[in-house]
């Protein structure tokens, strides 16, 4: 890595982090953290830890294989060679919810299936995220008017973090949603939240 200081003298931690963060999005996140810290008076040691935790969480979102209907085909296509999801760290689809971070609900959810979806969601450990993929999971999709057995949108029983419109959404749309989710994860404050909880507890 090119060092701007003279050899032999170790650079400041902030400089080092700036050098290691090559992607503009990461840099923006870190600068945002610096701004937040100065405003709220948080110790500077926390911020690189926050950034590191968020970077680790966002760069290795392991999805749960949860293809229910046609959107599953597009999810498989996105995970395959041409529109690779693995280059974003999200290629390790887990069949078990116990090892998954992200539940991509890809397909129509019927009334019969809804309790099972909730059960799988509850089996996922924190931090967990839900992506509503396709029109059926957003608001019922093509079955919104006459579907007597379709749940018109999974946000009726699940907390959704990101919605991907489309019927089905193209692989590029799914990748865009994943990047959006990574951005959302990177804006969270894991250490600050934990610190606040510890202070608030008597």
């Amino acid at each position: 890595m090119p060092h701007e200081e003279l050899p032999g003298k170790s650079p400041a931690p902030e400089t080092l982090l700036k050098q290691y963060i090559r992607e503009p999005r990461d840099l923006t996140r870190y600068l945002h953290y610096l701004k937040v810290a100065r405003k709220e008076g948080l110790p500077t040691a926390v911020l690189p830890l926050d950034a590191a935790i968020n970077w680790a969480r966002a760069s290795s979102v392991w999805p749960l294989t949860f293809g229910l209907a046609c959107c599953a085909i597009e999810m498989m296509a996105t995970g395959a060679a041409k529109y690779d999801l693995d280059r974003f760290g999200a290629g390790a689809f887990r069949p078990t919810p116990r090892q998954a971070d992200l539940m991509i609900v890809a397909g129509t959810v019927t009334h019969k299936m809804a309790p099972r979806v909730i059960r799988l969601y509850e089996q996922m450990p924190e931090p967990k995220y839900v992506m509503a993929m396709g029109a059926c999971t957003i608001g019922g999709g093509p079955y919104a008017v006459h579907g007597y057995h379709v749940v018109k949108g999974i946000d009726r029983f699940l907390p959704v973090d990101v919605y991907v419109p489309g019927c089905p959404p193209r692989p590029e749309a799914l990748i865009d949603a994943l990047l959006w989710l990574q951005d959302k994860i990177s804006r969270q404050d894991p250490v600050k939240t934990r610190y606040e909880d510890a202070q608030a507890a008597p």
Binding site: H111, K112, Y148, H149, R156
Partner: protein, 157 residues
């Protein structure tokens, strides 16, 4: 054998149970069978060497205004001929003998017809809903079906 020949052959042996040859405006030309003699007709279709219908392709239900129909599409691999059967039952007394011991395919097809249309098949090894949850009320593919507003706390609006 053509379907008309099969129809006349069955009419000879089963008489009253076989109603006149039906070639409607819409739909398949089919052999219409009365519900009382349906079981005997099915057995002879399966076991008669001349007919030898060994493959039940499909059992479906049709809602006509006055009645419900159960439609059977049969095919014979031995003789390479096929035929369509139709049995009409009343809406409020929709009961038919099951043919799942003659053709194993009828097991799930009759469960689906029961689930969607409400035709009960007597003698079926386990007649229960197959597509909808077991506590669902009503038969959705009937023409007079009104969907529920909520199910298990989730609305259908």
């Amino acid at each position: 054998m053509t379907p008309e020949e099969i129809h006349s052959k069955l009419a000879n042996s089963h008489g009253d149970a076989i109603l006149p040859w039906l070639a409607p405006e819409h739909g398949d030309p089919c052999i219409q069978v009365a519900p009382e003699g349906f079981r005997a007709v099915a057995e002879s279709l399966r076991h008669t060497p001349d007919l030898a219908f060994d493959f039940l392709r499909c059992v479906t239900g049709v809602d006509r205004e006055a009645s419900l129909s159960s439609v059977y599409h049969l095919y014979s691999y031995t003789h390479e001929h096929g035929v369509t059967l139709r049995v009409d039952v009343a809406r409020d007394e929709a009961r038919l003998p099951s043919v799942s011991d003659l053709w194993p395919a009828a097991d799930w097809h009759e469960r689906e017809t029961y689930d969607m249309m409400g035709i009960e098949y007597e003698g079926h090894p386990g007649l229960r809903r197959i597509l909808l949850p077991s506590d669902w009320e009503g038969f959705p593919l009937r023409k007079d079906y009104v969907p529920p507003k909520t199910y298990n706390g989730l609305t259908n609006e």
